[in-house]
């Protein structure tokens, strides 16, 4: 009898192990995620299947698949896309005490459609030695003619720039934002191209004096296998703009449970796991992103950039202002 029971338990456990899995559509392609997904599976026995791709294509795919979609969780690298996914009706509002505790109010959707997971700050980097940090002040100041042919910044097709401009539109209004974008385009030393890392490289090489980049790219450079990249990280300084005003522009990488999810319980558990304080340390240690509660940062590298005041604008604004930001870039001739 006992052995029968044991077999029964074993069988059901095996069955459960087979059925317990969650499917993740993710725009994130970082080593930190691989580490954490594996850890989640070990701790919970829930297998994590991943499809990586650009958030826009994954959202399109989710819409096309509708209620038959196998996806349980969508992960993106900015709040704007999460907002778009919510608007498209493919996310499910969820509530969980753990998630509410783990994620500050400004870093999540008021209705619980999505939750921030990590924070990235978009900062100004400058050439140590050539630029006195006292010359720097705000994003708005980058439009000043003193930066003529000294600025490097990437293409406006990039979501981080769109979110930055969306926050400027929200603060200063559309017409001021347009003249800002026009003036900044004029101050660029070359037409926008490449990644944030390439902008930092341009500053290190002496082509540009200042650049706008996300902080975690500097972490990647500082820990690169390439000596030249590590040299780039040494040559540039980090400046957090608008500290006397609204604060530096921040954005989140985050996720939400999909409306089609067949395994909501584990999907929520997955988000809870990713926002738990332990996982948060992995994100900053492996991918140099700030924890969603910035003050909890324990990474020495991130601490070395200094503490800063973050813009408290509700992140869903970045999503709702996004189309306007893209059109403003087009009008300003910022490719």
């Amino acid at each position: 009898m006992k052995s029968l029971l044991a077999i029964f338990i074993f069988l059901s456990a095996a069955l459960c192990a087979n059925t317990a899995e969650i499917n993740v559509y993710s725009h994130r392609h970082y080593d930190s995620d691989t580490v954490l997904f594996k850890k989640f599976s070990q701790e919970t026995g829930v297998q994590v299947n991943v499809i990586k791709g650009s958030a826009d294509q994954l959202i399109q795919r989710l819409i096309s698949e509708g209620k038959n979609s196998p996806a349980d969780v969508l992960l993106t690298v900015d709040a704007g896309r999460l907002h778009r996914a919510k608007e498209a009706g493919i996310l499910l509002p969820v509530e969980s005490t753990k998630l509410s505790q783990n994620v500050p109010d400004s870093m999540r959707d008021p209705e619980g459609n999505w939750y921030g997971m990590t924070v990235r700050a978009r900062v100004i980097v400058y050439a140590k030695g050539r630029v006195n940090p006292a010359e720097l002040s705000t994003y708005e100041d980058l439009a000043s003619s003193k930066w003529r042919a000294r600025l490097a910044i990437r293409s406006s097709s990039n979501i981080y720039n769109q979110s930055l401009l969306a926050s400027i539109i929200a603060t200063n209004g559309p017409s001021k934002a347009l003249s800002w974008a026009k003036a900044v385009r004029k101050n660029m030393v070359r037409s926008p191209r490449g990644s944030d890392r390439d902008q930092a490289r341009a500053v290190a090489s002496g082509l540009a004096d200042v650049a706008v980049i996300n902080t975690y790219y500097l972490g990647i450079l500082a820990n690169s296998t390439s000596a030249a990249d590590r040299e780039v990280a040494r040559k540039v300084g980090v400046f957090f703009p608008n500290q006397n005003g609204r604060g530096a522009h921040v954005n989140v990488s985050g996720g939400g449970v999909t409306r089609s999810s067949k395994n909501k319980k584990d999907a929520i558990r997955f988000l809870e796991f990713l926002t738990s304080s332990e996982s948060q340390q992995t994100f900053s240690a492996v991918n140099y992103e700030y924890p969603v509660k910035i003050e909890n940062n324990r990474s020495d590298l991130l601490k070395s950039w200094g503490t800063f005041k973050a813009d408290k604008v509700n992140l869903s604004i970045l999503g709702s202002r996004n189309p306007e930001a893209v059109k403003t870039f087009d009008r300003a001739g910022w490719e």
Binding site: D56, N68, A149, R190, R201, G206, S226
Partner: protein, 544 residues
């Protein structure tokens, strides 16, 4: 009454039989997703006016500069190298003949990574100039900035042409070798100098092949997203992605894609008109080996340099740089999962080349053998998928699959079947072009003869067409295999869960800005592709 009707029907279904009917259905099936895109040509998109007012002209300008430049240099390099290795004799010719194909193994987005650095280096050389200009007047500064900005065009063109010229080279070389001795030797006996033989005999004869190769280059150039994104060139493709992804305007993006397709359609029609005005057929089927021009020391040096130039830019420099990076990072990145990546990529590429060559042969044969205008038209429509970016094909498939997903509950997305169908749409043209032009050159007359002898179509296909177009079949298979191995956007969007290929892994790492790490899967792609490239190239040689 009944008689008239059936007569009418017979007139309407002019030459429609099992072959042509299934070719028609197959062709249209492949065209359906593209038709869904074309359907949006007149879609009222809210952003259309904005696009017209702001960015449309710059998309057109950049696309035109890029296409013209890339085609010019691809044809220049492809044709001259093909002529040198097939009609001249110089030391190292035999090696150069096959190594010139190698740049095919380098995807444009990977080549762009290798050269992004190089562009930065040129920029670094110009830093003193920029610093000097900052102290001068605004006009001087503007001139220097303009100069710096314009660098992206020649660099992008160089990168694209140096990895795309093998399309022209392969087809031109096949044509030059097929021309064989007769015409060229006849011209020689008539006292023509090599130069006039090249311009007045060989080049006109090879024109259909060169035009076919150049049209592949045009499409590949317009399809590229990775390289243009890196160099900051705002092409049409860039605009499609921007409108779709950044403006969240699918109808607008589809309308742009439809415009691009119309443009390609127009080009294909022009190509056809040009070709029909110059229909050359080689007399006789026996191709004797051709006595090559022996070059002197000076000529040999020049010829070797001429062949080494595109090879260096298209293969040696990218591979060299990637190898250096890989040396730094392979310990960090290389593990057993790489075996799975390689197997996945290989299996996918092999399956799609087999499928696509089969379909292309069938469609081309049905069109040519029965001379059915409807099949001709549907073939032209079926190969349109090559003229739009891979991501647009994926977009079209999502569009088509949506009703099935929602109503039937059969999830078409995320299966290997759908992925293969997507490859078929995307790469049919790659196989169809050489097969169709091979049949045009070798089989049309013989098919007429076999028809008058009342041989069955199947016998004609198996006994006449297939043996005669074997080199074209190999070329088609080679090109599709290579293209699938390098393919990125379709695989990225439509692949099943946990399914990774070498190119998706490369993409993951590059989009994470881990260039040194990404060089490891990138080199794997190149090495995996190089082996079949060499092998198939040898086969083509042997069949000549």
């Amino acid at each position: 009454m009944k008689r008239t009707l059936s007569g009418l029907g017979r007139g309407f279904l002019f030459k429609l039989n099992g072959w042509t009917l299934s070719a028609l259905i197959l062709g249209l099936l492949i065209f359906i997703p593209m038709a869904a895109v074309l359907w949006h040509l007149t879609d009222p998109s809210e952003n259309w006016k904005h696009l017209e007012e702001t960015v449309l002209t710059s998309y057109l300008k950049d696309s035109l500069i890029l296409v013209l430049g890339t085609v010019f240099f691809s044809v220049l390099a492809g044709v001259s190298c093909a002529w040198l290795v097939s009609c001249c004799e110089f030391p190292g010719r035999k090696v150069l003949e096959w190594v010139l194909v190698l740049p095919l193994a380098v995807p444009t987005f990977i080549a762009a990574y290798a050269y992004f650095d190089l562009l930065a280096m040129i920029e670094e050389e110009m830093i003193p100039l920029v610093i000097w200009a900052r102290t001068k007047s605004l006009e001087d500064l503007d001139t220097v900035i303009f100069l710096l900005d314009s660098l992206k065009y020649p660099v992008t063109i160089l990168v694209m042409a140096s990895v795309l010229y093998p399309y022209v080279y392969l087809l031109a070389r096949a044509s030059f070798s097929r021309q064989g001795s007769q015409l060229i030797e006849a011209a020689r006996t008539l006292g023509y100098r090599p130069r006039s033989i090249f311009f007045r005999v060989a080049l006109p004869l090879a024109r259909p092949a060169i035009v076919a190769g150049a049209s592949l280059v045009v499409m590949e150039t317009l399809n590229d997203y990775g390289a243009v994104k890196h160099f900051g060139v705002s092409t049409f493709t860039n605009g499609i992605f921007r409108t779709w992804f950044n403006m969240n305007d699918l109808p607008g993006a589809l309308r742009l894609a439809a415009l691009l397709m119309l443009f390609i359609l127009f080009l294909l029609v022009v190509e056809r008109i040009l070709r029909s005005g110059a229909k050359f057929e080689e007399k006789g089927t026996v191709v004797r080996s051709f006595k090559r021009y022996r070059l002197g020391p000076a000529g040999s040096t020049l010829a070797i340099l001429c062949c080494l130039l595109p090879l260096t830019f298209g293969f040696l420099i990218p591979l060299g740089r990637l190898s250096l990076w890989a040396k730094e990072s392979y310990q960090k990145i290389l593990d057993f999962s790489f075996l799975e990546l390689i197997t996945n990529s290989l299996a996918l590429a092999a399956a799609s080349s087999l499928l696509i060559v089969l379909v292309a042969t069938f469609l081309a044969f049905a069109g040519r053998y029965f001379k059915n205008p409807a099949v001709h038209a549907s073939n032209r429509l079926a190969i349109l998928g090559y003229s739009v970016p891979g991501a647009v094909v994926a977009m079209a498939i999502l569009l088509i699959a949506s009703p099935f997903n929602l109503s039937l509950g059969i999830l078409l997305t995320g299966s290997l079947f759908t992925l293969l169908f997507a490859y078929l749409i995307r790469f049919l043209a790659v196989a169809w072009q050489p097969i169709d032009s091979g049949m045009e050159k070798n089989c049309d007359r013989l098919n007429e003869a076999s028809q008058s002898l009342k041989a069955s179509p199947l016998v004609s296909l198996l006994k006449i067409n297939l043996p005669l177009i074997r080199p074209s079949l190999w070329a088609a298979g080679l090109l599709v295999f290579v293209d699938t191995m390098k393919e990125l956007p379709l695989t990225l969007i439509l692949r099943p869960f946990n399914f990774e290929t070498l190119s998706t892994r490369t993409y993951d790492l590059t989009s994470n800005s881990q260039i040194p790490e990404s060089s490891v899967p990138a080199i794997c792609i190149i090495l995996v592709v190089v082996i079949p490239v060499i092998w198939l190239n040898r086969k083509m040689e042997a069949r000549k």
